[in-house]
């Protein structure tokens, strides 16, 4: 009996790159570990792995370290890294790809605010078609403890007084159509 040869699984790096099918930019194999991305990043000291190291971990196939990292959830999407990379890699798009992957696989830390914030934001848009800031408050308002919460509330009251924070969310007219549109590209229950 002839053994059937089984194709090797794609590498973790390819897995990550496949998440960026609609993006341009060079492959992660081109990374020369120069750390220009890390130097350009204004949030780097709050990340558990620098952007340079994260790319090294991806290229080394160290899935668990990458999938549980807070690096991409600490990215503010300022694109400074993508602008500076001498090899044409766009680390900011890698960050987006990994937030999606870690949400999908459920590997993010449940104590982090960012994944819950992004989910709440998305659910709000699918309900009303527009963003509504007070709706996201439950994702973060308890973070600063009671004093932090009081500070947030005080600011909210000042903003309402200045007419800058509406008490009722607005919605678009054709929200039904918008939902039908979204349902044509992905299952709504996956995100709601």
């Amino acid at each position: 009996m002839t053994a059937i040869s089984i194709e090797p699984r794609i590498s973790f790096r390819e897995e990550v790159e496949n998440l960026m099918h609609a993006e341009e930019g060079a492959s992660l194999v081109r990374c020369v570990q120069c750390a220009t991305c890390s130097a350009a990043c204004p949030a780097v000291e709050f990340m558990d792995h620098t952007p340079r190291k994260l790319i090294a971990l991806i290229n080394a196939g160290m899935r668990d370290e990458v999938m549980t990292s807070n690096t991409y959830w600490t990215c503010a999407s300022c694109y400074a890294c993508s602008e500076k990379c001498p090899e044409g890699i766009r680390p900011a798009d890698v960050m987006y790809a990994l937030t999606r992957y870690s949400l999908w696989k459920g590997t993010f830390n449940r104590d982090w605010v960012a994944p819950e914030f992004s989910r709440r934001f998305t659910r709000t848009i699918l309900r009303t078609g527009k963003s509504y800031e007070p709706g996201y408050a439950p994702a973060f308002i308890f973070e600063g403890g009671f004093p932090g919460m009081m500070r947030e509330m005080r600011m909210a009251i000042r903003l309402v007084a200045k007419g800058r924070l509406p008490l009722i969310p607005s919605r678009i007219k054709r929200i039904k159509n918008l939902r039908a549109m979204v349902a044509r590209v992905l299952p709504l229950d996956g995100i709601e």
Binding site: A76, F117, S118, R164
Partner: protein, 300 residues
């Protein structure tokens, strides 16, 4: 008269309502007609791209298709809206499969997108040669010599767009040109294209507060009396969380943060109240009452 489909974005209906009214006033003064995009939806900010790439694309595609139906190019005042609309537009124009997929979705709202729309940030519309000439012609003494830190933010310049020269990505100068045309004195602001922290203010407070402190200290060091912004998130972070920076770092910043359209409006002779000035949490009174301002009372 130049006409555009105006995409205000969600913030301009709430936190950044003053950006909306001041943009409208300036547009009128400069002969730019802004026709609001009919039944527009949220651009997705950064959250959609965290959740699903196609979701982010389909929602921007709807706004682009509505603009195409109105037969107009889009202008957006918010850096994030601008970036999302611009990037989606570019992706749809270069990727026929993606475009087909999106058109299949758009059918559900009786829309179709052929890729005929161009996307600009509202500042780009106010820095054309024609607009600058008009500003120079009309500018009064209201903000003459005012030392302004021109804060571009991130997504108005990044990611880099084809046709934009490298120097204008690393160190853009059109904001300064605009302020000079209006009579102000833009300071040399080293942090002008550095991030304000964006949504990290919610998701990673300490990171964002540190980023803001650098921006505020940079403006103080540069001798600015006010920071001018072109993005509602930059404005909100710099203004509403200035107190948080002071609390965490023991500083005492009291830097007014205004939209560039508010300063431009003042220069063009629009009353402060009509530009939404007075709704700030950090008062702009100090420089509004400066001696070189004309006798006209604030709020007319």
């Amino acid at each position: 008269m130049t006409r555009y489909a105006y995409y205000p974005g969600c913030s301009l209906e709430t936190m950044a309502a003053t950006y909306h009214v001041s943009s409208m006033e300036v547009a009128t003064k400069l002969g730019v007609e802004l026709e609001e995009l009919e039944d527009w939806n949220c651009c997705g900010a950064t959250a959609y791209s965290h959740v699903d790439e196609l979701l982010a694309t389909v929602l921007c595609a709807r706004n682009l298709a509505i603009a195409e139906k109105q037969g107009l190019d889009i202008v957006a005042p918010c850096n994030a809206c601008f970036k999302n609309l611009w990037t989606t537009n570019a992706a749809l124009k270069r990727d026929a499969d993606l475009s087909d997929h999106m058109n299949f979705a758009l059918e559900a709202d009786d829309l179709r997108y052929e890729g005929k729309v161009e996307v600009s940030h509202i500042m780009n519309v106010f820095v054309t040669d024609e607009a600058l000439a008009s500003i120079r012609r009309q500018a009064g003494e209201r903000i003459k010599g005012l030392r302004v830190a021109p804060y571009y933010g991130c997504q108005i310049v990044r990611p880099r767009r084809p046709g934009v020269e490298q120097a204008q990505v690393d160190g853009p100068t059109y904001f300064e040109t605009l302020l000079e045309a209006a009579g102000a004195n833009p300071v040399d602001y080293p942090y002008k294209v550095r991030c304000c922290g964006a949504a990290l203010m919610v998701t990673n407070r300490l990171a964002a507060v540190q980023m803001l402190r650098d921006l505020l200290q940079g403006a103080v060091d540069a001798g600015a009396e006010v920071i001018a912004t072109a993005c509602p998130l930059c404005q909100t972070n710099l203004e509403c969380y200035q107190g948080e920076v002071n609390r965490v770092y023991g500083t005492n910043y009291a830097m007014p943060i205004l939209y560039f359209t508010q300063l431009l409006g003042l220069a063009l002779g629009v009353g402060a109240k009509r530009l939404g000035i007075g709704k700030e949490l950090v008062s702009a009174e100090a420089f509004l009452k400066r001696p070189c301002a004309p006798a006209a009372p604030v709020g007319v």
